[in-house]
């Protein structure tokens, strides 16, 4: 299968920094992708350029094999509701959904109605008077009910309470199972979406740090817990991502995949193995990468932050 999204050497320059720095990326499609990264890492910029809402400074962008700018045949198959999406003055959610139904050919009004009920969204208030969470719900409903071939969600959970967030995750999974498509979900609540996403794309400082299947990422590290002397002995030469200790018990996360034999060995020696949380792993890997980056560039490029 060819990739639905292909990006080569994509750079987006703003006055004082590169929001995207020579990014190359291929997205196969037909899965739920997590676009993860810190605030200002470049997540929204990347999604904006992929949907022709913003423009690249350099590089090539292809969505369904073509550049999306002013290209209805591509744009027709995309939906991207921004995190701080604006709506027409005096529009109510009812107006917004009616408008969306005009433009998305797969629009499912029934699904929209169910979601409105689930999120308890007031339909007759103007959108500008809605709370932050309700505003997010409007975007989530448009994103889900549009059933576009590629749907982007830009931190869709902002302001949503825990119940509403769970509704979103559940509904997303249900609808995705029935209508498989490409979903790209930007988030910095990594643990919350870790059960949802099949593929992880980590972006930091305008660069792609990781683009892998979630399972592969999880296998990249392991946490060993037990008597600190024993743990240290076991860790020895391995690359430590993180270390915590409480009294004589230590918990150390190391990079690397363990074979079945190695696992057996660890348990036999009285140590416990624990899975690494995706969030932990990504945070550590991000920190490590940026530390390496800054030590590489430290002599030439002393950026003030």
């Amino acid at each position: 299968m060819t990739a639905v999204i292909e990006v080569h050497n994509l750079t987006k320059r703003y006055k004082d920094k590169n929001a995207l720095d020579n990014v190359s990326l291929a997205i196969e499609g037909g899965a739920i992708y997590g676009l993860l990264g810190r605030n200002g890492a470049g997540k929204t910029t990347l999604m904006s350029i992929l949907t022709a809402q913003n423009f690249e400074s350099a590089g090539t962008v292809k969505v369904f094999g073509e550049h999306p700018y002013e290209n209805s045949s591509v744009l027709n198959r995309i939906c991207f509701v921004r995190e701080s999406q604006k709506y027409p003055d005096d529009a109510t959610p009812r107006h917004a959904f009616k408008a969306a139904s005009l433009f998305f050919k797969n629009w499912d009004q029934e699904l929209a109605e169910e979601l409105i009920k689930d999120f308890q969204l007031p339909m007759k208030q103007t959108i500008k008077k809605l709370s932050r969470g309700q505003l997010s719900a409007v975007g989530v409903i448009i994103g889900l009910a549009s059933r576009a071939d590629i749907t982007f969600f830009d931190e869709p959970y902002l302001g949503l309470d825990a119940v509403a967030r769970q509704i979103f995750y559940d509904r997303l999974l249900d609808d995705y199972a029935e209508h498989p498509r490409t979903i790209i979900l930007s988030s910095h609540l990594i643990d919350e979406v870790s059960n949802l996403i099949e593929h992880v794309i980590v972006i930091d400082n305008g660069q792609i740090l990781m683009n892998e299947d979630t399972d592969a990422v999880r296998d990249r590290a392991v946490t060993v817990i037990g008597d600190s002397a024993k743990v240290d002995a076991w860790v020895a030469e391995r690359e430590v991502l993180h270390r915590e200790s409480l009294g004589r018990v230590a918990s150390v996360t190391v990079l690397g995949t363990l074979s079945a034999d190695e696992r057996a060995e660890v348990t036999a020696s009285g140590l416990d193995l624990a899975p690494v949380s995706l969030q932990q792993l990504i945070v550590r890997l991000t920190q490590k990468a940026s530390a390496e980056n800054s030590s590489e560039n430290s002599s030439e490029n002393q950026e003030v932050r």
């Binding site: 809402q53 209805s72 744009l75 939906c79 921004r82 999406q85 604006k86 027409p88 005009l102 433009f103």
Partner: protein, 228 residues
């Protein structure tokens, strides 16, 4: 094409924007005008500029069409071209609607002898010189002009920032001053007013439509690179 027409529908989904708000503003302005006319103890016909009130609504609508509806249209994956053409079409429809209201208002004023007090908001002699059609064209052009000015200003602001918008406004004011200076210097004011009178409301409106076309062209160039 169907997507362009859908943009028209998108703009008109909320009837408040293009229809109810201008109507309410117009109704309010007519009531205030009539009350004022009633207080003037002069038997002759009284004319006022209350009819221009809804024009400012069109200016605001043009502005928010760019600053708010455009970003929304991007979430609906509408191309900029479709949005631009559809929005101008919607504005033309709204302007035509207001112009029809204007004609009806003028008819009512004629029939009621200026609300019984010889006061006129719609039936201004200069605009009606060539009959209802002329008045229609004049008011249609004015409404569309206000919309396009609002939209173009907002587009320039969004594409190039407040500094460029200020510079453009400044240059326009300077150009206007220049024209006034030249006319004064060459003592052409008499000729100017004669030309103005000869063109009449309809002639001026046709020039207005040409200005609208030019403004739309500039606006489209700026709009093509606008980001929500």
């Amino acid at each position: 094409m169907s997507r362009t027409l859908n943009v028209v529908r998108l703009q008109l989904i909320n009837k408040q924007t293009f229809i109810w708000v201008p109507l309410i503003v117009l109704a309010g302005s007519v009531i205030v005008s009539v009350l004022i006319y009633a207080m003037i103890p002069v038997p002759g016909p009284k004319y006022g500029g209350g009819g221009q009130a809804p024009l400012w609504v069109f200016f605001g609508t043009g502005l928010t069409a760019m600053t708010l509806t455009f970003p929304f249209s991007q979430a609906l994956s509408i191309t900029r071209r479709d949005f631009f053409v559809g929005t101008l079409l919607a504005a033309a429809l709204g302007s035509a609607f207001m112009a029809v209201i204007f004609i009806i208002g003028g008819g009512i004023e004629l029939l009621t002898n200026g609300y019984g007090i010889n006061g006129y908001v719609f039936h201004l002699p200069w605009m009606w010189e060539t009959g209802p059609l002329g008045a229609f064209i004049t008011f249609f052009t004015l409404a569309l002009f206000f919309f396009v000015v609002g939209f173009t200003g907002a587009t320039i602001y969004k594409s190039w920032g407040p500094v460029v918008l200020t510079i453009v406004s400044f240059v326009l004011v300077l150009a206007l001053l220049g024209v006034i200076f030249v006319i004064t210097r060459l003592e052409l004011w008499n000729q100017f007013w004669t030309m103005f009178a000869e063109l009449g409301a309809v002639g001026l409106s046709l020039w207005g439509l040409a200005v609208i076309a030019v403004l739309s062209g500039i606006s489209f160039l700026a709009f093509r690179r606008a980001t929500p």
